[in-house]
């Protein structure tokens, strides 16, 4: 079933059940109300004359945890993590409170994608904070539009690393808008 450009009706011409099924029933089934399954969703185009329902979801991990890893890793409590059905794009917004045990050391918080797509966490879109004062705490936010996803179920996970010292990460939140 797909969208068909609505026909122009002509006076004194028989209107058939087949025409009504194509131009009325099937087209109505391609509109947003027919696609809506859950409250709080948005609708995006998947191509010309085609739409899909997508989720806008949030996950928060309040637990404060640490790492000394200089490469991206999970913390003891993995995440936050969100699994979202997407097209080829998704907008991810994230926030974290962060501090480091040593002055001059930098903490990085990035996003990795897995499942339908594999994209490693990268400094290219990471938020990063260099501790000006030992154990100085700051809240930082990031946003990144992923544009090369494989359409399907994708998992978005916050990942963490430091340049040195012990990085502490708390109130870790991720919002994913599937597109």
């Amino acid at each position: 079933m797909s969208w068909t450009a609505p026909m122009t009706f002509v006076a004194a011409t028989t209107l058939t059940a087949a025409q009504l099924n194509i131009h009325l029933r099937d087209n109505l089934n391609e509109t947003a109300p027919a696609k809506a399954t859950t409250a709080g969703r948005i609708f995006v185009s998947t191509g010309a004359n085609a739409i899909a329902e997508r989720a806008v979801v949030d996950n928060l991990v309040s637990t404060s945890e640490t790492t000394i890893s200089t490469t991206y890793v999970d913390l003891t409590t993995v995440g936050p993590v969100q699994t979202v059905t997407t097209g080829t794009r998704a907008l991810v917004i994230w926030h974290c409170g962060t501090q480091n045990s040593g002055t001059g050391n930098t903490n990085f918080i990035s996003v990795a994608v897995s499942s339908a797509t594999t994209i490693a966490a990268s400094d290219t879109w990471a938020i990063q904070n260099k501790a000006a004062i030992n154990a100085d705490y700051i809240g930082v936010s990031g946003a990144h539009l992923f544009t090369t996803l494989t359409a399907g179920s994708n998992v978005f996970t916050l990942k963490y690393r430091v340049t040195a010292g012990t990085g502490t990460f708390s109130v870790r939140d991720i919002i994913v808008i599937g597109l």
Partner: protein
């Protein structure tokens, strides 16, 4: 319209209430993948873009007033609103001085740099990068609007090493 028993249904009615109304729905408005749908007024919607641009190579920033730093820039068709996020890795070559990032809007709308959108990097050691982002709401004149990131430093002390890399601009058109 409300259909009434024993009343002829005309081609003109079907064209108005079926054909023309279906042509106002999201599938009819969708022209490409990656758009989303917003209301433009009562009973009217439009397809809008969510777009992003980046300047991964970066630029040296020496001006103490906002200036270009090789963008990034986005030119988009918008309605009355947009949500704009900016981010960049920034460093300043003098300890305890600052480097700033912001954005302006030109075209149908003119918006100068705003304190609410400003990113600031101030570090007690020189030549180290930090990165965060700002997310702001824009009131726009509907039409073609251009969003451009801008940068400045608080002091120009031979600022060849003050600069930005991996700058990213994302605009959600509404």
């Amino acid at each position: 319209m409300t259909f009434v028993a024993n009343t002829a249904l005309t081609a003109a009615q079907l064209n108005t209430f079926l054909r023309d109304n279906l042509n106002e729905t999201a599938p009819a408005k969708a022209t490409a993948a990656g758009q989303w749908f917003v209301s433009t007024t009562d009973n009217s919607i439009a397809a809008r873009n969510i777009s992003s641009a980046s300047n991964l190579s970066g630029a040296a920033i020496t001006s103490t007033s906002y200036t270009d730093g090789n963008g990034p820039t986005l030119t988009l068709l918008t309605g009355q609103y947009a949500m704009v996020t900016i981010s960049a890795q920034m460093k300043i070559n003098v300890a305890n001085e600052s480097i700033f990032a912001n954005y302006v809007v030109t075209g149908a709308t003119t918006i100068s740099t705003q304190d609410s959108a400003e990113l600031v990097h101030n570090c007690n050691s020189a030549n180290t990068y930090d990165r965060t982002c700002s997310i702001t709401w824009c009131n726009l004149t509907p039409g073609t609007n251009t969003f451009t990131m801008k940068y400045r430093v608080s002091t120009n002390s031979g600022g060849a090493t003050s600069g930005i890399i991996n700058a990213r601009l994302t605009v959600l058109c509404l």
